[in-house]
Structures are given as C-alpha cells and as structure tokens.
C-alpha cells in the first residue's frame, strides 16, 4: 500500500473522529425548567417580557442588567446579565441566552437578539403629514 493512501485513510479517520467530538461539544436549546435541572451552561431561547421593567441603572452599577423573559414553554424567569444593557433589546423578536440557572435567576453570559431586520421590515415610517411649504 502506498504511503499516501495510508495517510489519507488515517486523516479521514481523524476527520470522522473530529466530527464526532464536535457533536459532543455542541449543545441544545433548552428551557428554564431544564436549566434548573441541569445546572450547566446552556442556551435558552425565548422572548422578552415587554410588560415588565428592564432594569439597567449604570449610575448604580454599570454591569448589572436585569429583565424578564419567557422561554419556549412560556415559563417566565428573571435574567441577570453581568454587563451593560444591549442597545436594541426592546425591539427584539427573539432572544437566545447563554448561561445557567442560579437559584431562581438565570445568569446570562451572552445575549443574542434577533431583531426585525431593516431589510424585511415591511413598514413605512411616515413623517408627520405636513405640507411641503415648511
């Protein structure tokens, strides 16, 4: 057998092994209930509770932002984020959090928001209808 074929096979084997390892590295999208059970770091997908207050007071603590979110099972949970408030969170349609449960609060390390993109925002912003004379 040629050396190159042996190496080729070895590398294909390595690639397969690698893909398997990648999938052990991968995670799942969970809910707050699962997060409570697992206690490990994971993703939670959900939507912002716009009724409740988004609390960020940089004068007190520039690195504390709290808000409430519903997960996909409509369970509500308080989210604590050790950082500044992401700018467009109010407009988000969906939030993907990375973090883990600490007691009854979810401590997020990363907040990824899906916002209505300006590309497909099917709305026209209308300036207060004024006459052209102004």
């Amino acid at each position: 057998m040629k050396k190159s074929s042996i190496i080729l096979m070895a590398i294909i084997a390595l690639a397969i092994a690698m893909i398997l390892v990648i999938y052990t590295d991968s995670s799942t999208y969970s809910t707050f209930k699962e997060a409570k059970e697992k206690k490990t770091e994971l993703y939670v997908v959900g939507v912002l509770n716009k009724e409740k207050k988004l609390d960020y007071d940089p004068v007190k603590d520039a690195n504390l932002f709290t808000f409430y979110m519903y997960d996909n099972d409509s369970t509500e949970c308080k989210i604590v984020f050790n950082g500044s408030k992401p700018q467009d969170i109010e407009r988000s349609e969906q939030i993907v959090l990375t973090g883990k449960m600490e007691g009854d609060q979810f401590h997020a390390t990363k907040i990824l928001m899906k916002c209505p993109s300006k590309y497909n925002q099917d709305q026209v912003e209308v300036i207060e209808a004024t006459t052209a004379s102004l």
Binding site: K3, S4, A62, Y119
Partner: protein, 824 residues
C-alpha cells in the same frame, strides 16, 4: 386603483429593469454559444456569438450599476432599494456603501467583477476561451437570475433592485398621490458608515468572483481532456484569488476591529467562517497544483480542491443570504426569498464537479511511483490534507443549522464558539506552520537527507531561542497551546527568512513563497498574542461588591464587570491610566465622547503621556438605539481600544427648538427666590455661598444718560462656590423718571443670575432675586476599554503575505509565458 403619483421618476427603473432582463438573456446566449463553441471548435461563429453575448451582458451590467447609482445618488426614494439603504443626509462617499448594503447590490458587485475577469479571459486565454467562458457564463447566468425579480409559475425569481417602494411594501399611505413627500427613508446602517465598508465588500467580492476562474480552468481541463495543461494558466488565477480573498477577509476583520462593537478582530462568526473555508481549500489547491507540476503526484487532489473551492463560495453565499444562520450569527441576514434559487445554484456546480470527475475518472493522470518521504511534494500533500481537515471542522460546526434544517434536529452550536474553534484551529495552525517551515528545505522528488537536516536544525535552534524570548516578552507562557503556536509561527518565519536569504544569493524562484509564508507566520503570531493576552482594562472593581454570589473564585458570573462608569470631569484610575470623561461634542448624526487618558508616573507624579480618545455613538432608534463605534490608540506594541456602551440621555437629546426672539433669558432657570437682605449677609445657594458685600453708588451704565434725580445703585455680591472659587457680580438698580428698572448679572459658571430688584428704605432692606439653574445631571458614560498587545503583527503579516502572493503571481505568469513559447 390608478393613482397619479406626484414626483415619481419612473424612467430609470424601467431602463434598469430592461437591462436586468437583457443581462440575463445575454448570459444565457453566451453560455449556450460557448458550450457549442467548445464542442464544435470548427464552427467559428459559435465563439463569435458567445463573445457577443458576453459583451452584451457586460454592457447591461454596467448600465444596471450606473442606473442604480443614479437612483441612490439622486435620492429617488420611490425605489425600494434607495428607500431601504440610504437617506438624504448620507455623505456622498457612503452612497457607495449603501450601494452594496443590500443583497441585490452585492450580487451586482459579484457580477461586475465576473465581467472584468471574463474580459481578461476573453482576451488572454486563447485556446481556453470557449470552455472556460462556458463555466463563467453559467455562473453569470445564475447571478443575473438573482436580480430579475419577476414571478414565474407562482414563485418569485430573484429580487430586482429597481422595484418600486409602493410595489415592494403594502401600506395605506400609497393611496395618497403625494406619498413621496411624506416618507422617511430608512438610511444606511450606522455600522456600515465606515470607510472600510467602502473598500472591504469590493475586495471580498473580487476574491469570491475570481474563484470561478480556477474552477472553470479545472472543469475545462476535464471536459476537453487537456488534463495537465490547465494547471499552468490556472495557477496565477488561483494565486490571485487567494491573495484578494485573503486581503478582503482581513479587511473585514479590520473593519470589525475599528467599527464594530464586539471588541475584537475575529469572532468565529459563521459569516467569517464561510469566507475563510474556500480560502483554505484554494490555498490547499495551489500547493497541490505545485506538487503535481513538479512531481506528477496528486492530480486528482489538485483538480478536486480547485473545483470544490468555488462550490464552497456558493455555499458561503447560500449560508449568509438565505437566513438559515438566524440563531447562530450576530449578523442579521434575512431571506429575500431566494434560498431555493441559491440551493439550485449550489447544487448545479456541485453536480458539475462530481459529474466531470466521475466521467473522466479513468483518464486522470496518475503515477504509480511512490512519493519519497524526503520530497517536498509529499509534505505539500500532507499540508493540503491538514488544511482540508481544518475546513471540515469549520464546515461541520458552522453548518449545524443546515443539518438541523435537513434532518429536523435541534442541535445548538457550542456554547462558547470562540474557544471551540480556537481549540481545533490552533492545533491545525501548529501543523500547517511547521509544514510551511520544513517543506521549504525539501526539494521536489528527492532531497539529500543530510543537507535537509543540517538546514532544518540550524533554523530550529535559532527558532527555539527566538521563540523562548518572544514567549517571555509577549507573556504567552500561560498555556501549552499558546507556546506551541508561538514556537511554530517563529519557526516558520525563521525558516522562510533563511530561504529568502538564499533567494538573495540568486535562487529567486522561491522568493514569493518565502515572503508569503513569513507573512502568514506573522499573521498567526499577531492573532494569537492579541487574542490570547488582550485584557479588559476597564474592570469595574469599585462598583463591584465583593460578596455578590459569595465570591466564588474563577466563576465568570462573579467576575467584576467589564464596563466602567465615568462621570464627566471625575477622573478614575484604570490600570496605568488616569482617565477622565471630559465632555462630548455633536457632529450629527454622531455624538463623540472625549475621554482623556493620562499615564502618570507614580513616584514623581509627572504625566508621562496624555491622549484623548473619542469613540462615538449614533443614536438611531430605527436601528436599535445607541450604536457605538470604538476609538483606538495605536502603539507599536499594543493598542488601547475604547468603546461606549451607554451614555446619559441628555447628550443625545435634541437641541431645544425655541426661536431666538422668544427667549427671555430666564427659561433655563428655576423659579427665583426673593430675599430681603442687608450688607454683610451671607446666603446659601446649591453649590456654595454668596455674600452681600456692599452698595456701589457710583455704578454706571453705558448708553443710558442719567438725569440729576435719577438713582443708580449697584449691589456688590461675592459668590464663593463649594470648590473655593470666587466670582463677583454687580446687579444694578435704577430709578429713572420715576420708574424702577433693574439690570441683572449672571455668574454663568455657577448657573446663577442675580437681580437687584428693589430698595426698601422703610425696612432698611435691599431686595434681591436669585435665579438658579437646575443642577445639571452630571453627564456620564459607560465604556469598555481593551488592550490588544502586538496586534500590529496581524496587520503587518497580512501586508507581507499579500506582497508575497504578488511576487508568486508575477513569477507564475512569467513561467506560463515561457512554457507557452516552448510549446509554440
């Protein structure tokens, strides 16, 4: 339904749409003609027809570009593209950015570059013209179809940049004939209002577009059975594509570093990964092509890698444009409803690749001879394989959303993608760097092992010493992986420098490769050190209460936050620097926040250096509030990067709209307080005290002549603020012709205004009125500062690598001409 709309200019759109359709038709004509020209080389008319189609297509694309530019430049917001991507306030140079902000514009850019490359091929590729142009025009046909924007059999084909706003969107306002004067265009995303955004997309798309040429040559070689011949003309194009794409990717990285707010230059975002994957495979292709040319080994790999690189470019295009990455990417790409079309585009080229390879599998040149282990081709081959495996890793992780869509699973990508990718790609980088050092000492076919070891060991020893010093100086000794990468990068640089030294002695042939490998080594070194040792220097340890989460050590949830709160004028010590927020200035639409950095020597208290960074932010409610753009202080050995993450609202508030005439001079003040005082009284105000010092009977007023009976009295007031600053004010009271007047005086520094409003002889009192401005809420900002050490290696490495590619292209083009001369 027929409304006569006012102010619409419909002609440009009609011209544009006509040429969109023409460009598509011409591309098909050219494709078909070149196809038959390849199969019937005797019939010259096919080739002529193919050229006619190509030039018609080229002309149409130029007209489309000019028309679209005209629409954006003249603010014709009746067109959806201009409405969605620009507004009237946009500076002219950013009109170029808005041109390719949308998918339609970026498809146009891709087609435009393909036209330029096609023109070069038509004039230069001689006998290769027909088969190569067949594949180029096939790609051009697919791209042109993306712009058509018409409904065929119920599904929309493409998305036209010339669609009218009132056709693109449904809104009640479009029943008003005057709608044009009432709409507010969305404008260009502030993140793209950066000069790098003017130049990064064209470079990147030139890189993507030029990947078609190696594909076309490889496919044409298989199709026309000119197996070995395509490598010589194809190689310079492959090198060109690698060079341009590499530059484009790093430009994007520089843009991210200079203008985006994620605090770094590389984030392993899916969008970044999919652009780097075809770059890797084409680099692997270039190396295997060289190995094949010199040794006859690896024809299949060379062809496969050249072909698959372009298939991966289309795959990248599919991933970024179809919206499938939704939950995993910070880049908000959404679907324009063209994912079906993109899948067809992708599958067509994949099928062509597989089909051609299977069709010609028995005829592919191969050699029975075994590679020698002391030969360069053997290790080039290994290097290419390692690069391929590195790509497999990136594709597998990046494509998780695609697998989810295909198999209906719900797998999430790794929680911490950066460490996930670093772990894998770091290991691959070590192997690649070591190979790029060792293989340079080997010769094709057979190397004298003694000479090889002598040269290698010499470089190895020098590298170990330099790497040890570098590891110590750059402080990367904390992690075994860092040490390994640093060492292998240094080894690659040193080995290639010694090759370069030989080159100056006369062996010019390897210069280009030596220079580009040195560049690559520097690039990896810079990326590693900057990524591994960057530190957030704005740690908020003061605002952080030690008991939060009971201070579990090493728990990132309890780490002090990375954002620092700064009040205007109140300095804070941050690492080596004393930093002060000294104010802001507005240059619509941006607000610049000026932060003064002072490096003060602890012992002498001398200011060693001082500079002001002015990161800015744009408050753009439509785009999601405050969008910050960092400011960076560049040093030779490190950068200090500063970004605003929040700011007090008032600095963003619109300026008061009161007209000058309506101002009374009092509207900024609170309700006044009236006091009856005597000389010598001391009174308080919000920020200190003031003393009634005495009366000035000889006060004077300019421009007012005084009669004898008139009384004019000044009241001397001394203001002492809480920080012991003294101010004097003298409001004046005037009795003229029996009427009382008073002339107020400001102490604007303290926001005070005094009126001497009356003299009460009966009570022996003086009456004053004191106006105070409401205490301004002190302006504040929240910001983040990161120190990136040795990041200049990253940028310098990129430049060196590009120079090396240029040298290699020059050499290969010359070689190609010489070979052509020998043949003829």
């Amino acid at each position: 339904m027929d409304v006569n709309y006012v102010g619409e200019s419909l002609l440009p759109g009609q011209i544009g749409q006509f040429f969109v359709v023409l460009s598509f038709g011409a591309a098909i004509l050219s494709l078909v003609s070149y196809f038959f020209a390849t199969n019937n080389p005797e019939e010259k008319s096919w080739k002529t027809l193919g050229r006619i189609g190509f030039f018609t297509n080229a002309f149409s694309i130029l007209v489309i570009g000019a028309t679209l530019f005209y629409i954006i430049y003249n603010h014709l917001f009746e067109y959806h593209y201009a409405f969605a991507h620009s507004d009237k306030n946009l500076p002219t140079h950013y009109i170029i950015s808005s041109f390719w902000e949308g998918q339609e514009g970026s498809f146009w850019l891709w087609m435009f570059w393909q036209v330029i490359l096609g023109a070069v091929l038509v004039f230069r590729s001689k006998s290769w013209e027909a088969p190569v142009m067949t594949f180029v025009m096939l790609c051009q046909t697919f791209l042109a179809s993306m712009l058509i924007g018409v409904e065929i059999f119920g599904s929309r084909l493409g998305s036209s940049p010339f669609i009218l706003l009132r056709d693109a969107l449904q809104a009640p306002i479009f029943s008003d004939p005057n709608y044009l004067s009432m709409i507010r265009p969305r404008g260009l995303n502030p993140l793209l209002q950066n000069y790098w955004m003017v130049i990064h997309p064209p470079t990147l798309f030139l890189g993507f577009a030029s990947m078609i040429v190696p594909f076309a040559y490889a496919a044409a070689g298989l199709w026309t059975r000119r197996y070995k011949e395509w490598l010589t003309p194809g190689l310079p194009y492959a090198l060109f594509a690698v060079m341009v794409l590499g530059t484009g990717i790093i430009m994007g990285s520089f843009w991210a570093y200079e203008a985006l707010n994620f605090g770094g230059f590389w984030a392993w975002d899916p969008v970044e990964n999919v652009s780097i994957i075809p770059w890797f495979t084409l680099i692997a292709a270039v190396h295997v092509i060289l190995a094949y040319k010199h040794s006859g080994h690896g024809y299949f790999s060379a062809t496969l890698l050249s072909l698959i690189s372009f298939v991966l470019v289309i795959y990248a295009s599919y991933l970024t444009r179809s919206g499938i990455l939704g939950e995993t990417s910070v880049h908000s790409f959404t679907s324009l409803g063209m994912s079906g079309q993109l899948i067809w585009f992708n599958l067509t080229f994949l099928v062509i690749m597989i089909g051609l390879l299977i069709w010609r599998r028995k005829e592919l040149p191969s050699t029975k001879k075994e590679e020698d282990i002391y030969s360069r081709e053997f290790w080039l081959f290994i290097g290419a394989l390692v690069l391929t495996v590195a790509c497999v890793q990136m594709i597998s992780t990046t494509s998780i959303p695609v697998f989810n869509a295909i198999f209906g699973t719900d797998v999430a990508p790794p929680i911490d993608p950066i460490s996930h990718y670093n772990k894998w790609q770091g290991a691959f980088a070590v192997v690649i760097l070591l190979l790029s050092a060792v293989a340079q000492f080997l010769k094709y076919k057979r190397t004298d092992s003694k000479k090889f070891w002598a040269a290698t060991l010499a470089s190895l020893i020098v590298s170990i010493i330099i790497a040890a010093i570098a590891i110590y100086v750059m402080k990367v000794y904390t992690n075994v992986m860092y040490i390994l990468i640093t060492f292998s990068a240094v080894f690659s640089i040193i080995a290639n420098i010694s090759i370069l030294a030989d080159a100056f002695k006369g062996k010019w042939r390897l210069t280009g490769s030596a220079v580009s490998h040195i560049g690559f080594g520097l690039l990896v070194l810079g990326a590693l050190v900057a990524a591994a040792t960057n530190e957030v220097i704005s740690l908020n340890e003061t605002g952080y209460i030690g008991v939060k989460n009971f201070g579990k050590e090493g728990d990132k949830f309890t780490d002090p936050g990375e954002n620092l709160f700064l009040t205007e004028g109140e300095p804070v010590q941050m690492g080596n620097y004393k930093i002060t927020y000294i104010g802001d200035s507005v240059a619509p639409p941006n607000v610049f926040y000026h932060i003064k950095y002072e490096n003060i020597d602890e012992e002498s208290g001398k200011v060693l250096e001082e500079f002001v960074l002015s990161p800015f932010a744009q408050n753009n409610p439509a785009m999601g509030g405050l969008i910050g753009t960092p400011a960076t202080k560049h040093y030779f050995t490190h950068d200090v990067y500063t970004l605003i993450t929040a700011a007090s609202a008032d600095s963003q508030a619109p300026i008061s709209n009161l007209n000058e005439e309506e101002k009374t001079g009092f509207e900024d003040y609170d309700e006044p307080a009236t006091y009856q005082v005597n000389i010598g009284d001391t009174l308080r105000y919000r920020n200190g005290i003031y003393i009634i010092e005495g009366v000035n009977k000889s006060a004077k007023l300019e421009n007012i002549p005084l009669a004898e009976k008139d009384v004019i009295v000044g009241l001397k007031i001394k203001v002492i603020s809480s920080d012991n600053k003294e101010y004097n004010a003298e409001p004046i009271f005037l009795l003229k012709d029996g009427h009382a007047y008073d002339f107020n005086k400001d102490v604007s520094e303290q926001g005070l205004k005094f009126r001497f409003s009356n003299i009460l002889p009966a009570k022996d009192k003086l009456e004053i009125m004191v106006y105070q401005k409401p205490l301004p809420e002190k302006k504040w900002i929240v910001f983040k500062a990161i120190k990136f050490p040795y990041i200049n290696f990253f940028w310098v490495g990129t430049i060196v690598m590009t120079v090396g590619f240029c040298m290699a292209i020059y050499r290969r083009v010359k070689d190609g001409k010489r070979e052509a001369n020998i043949e003829s």
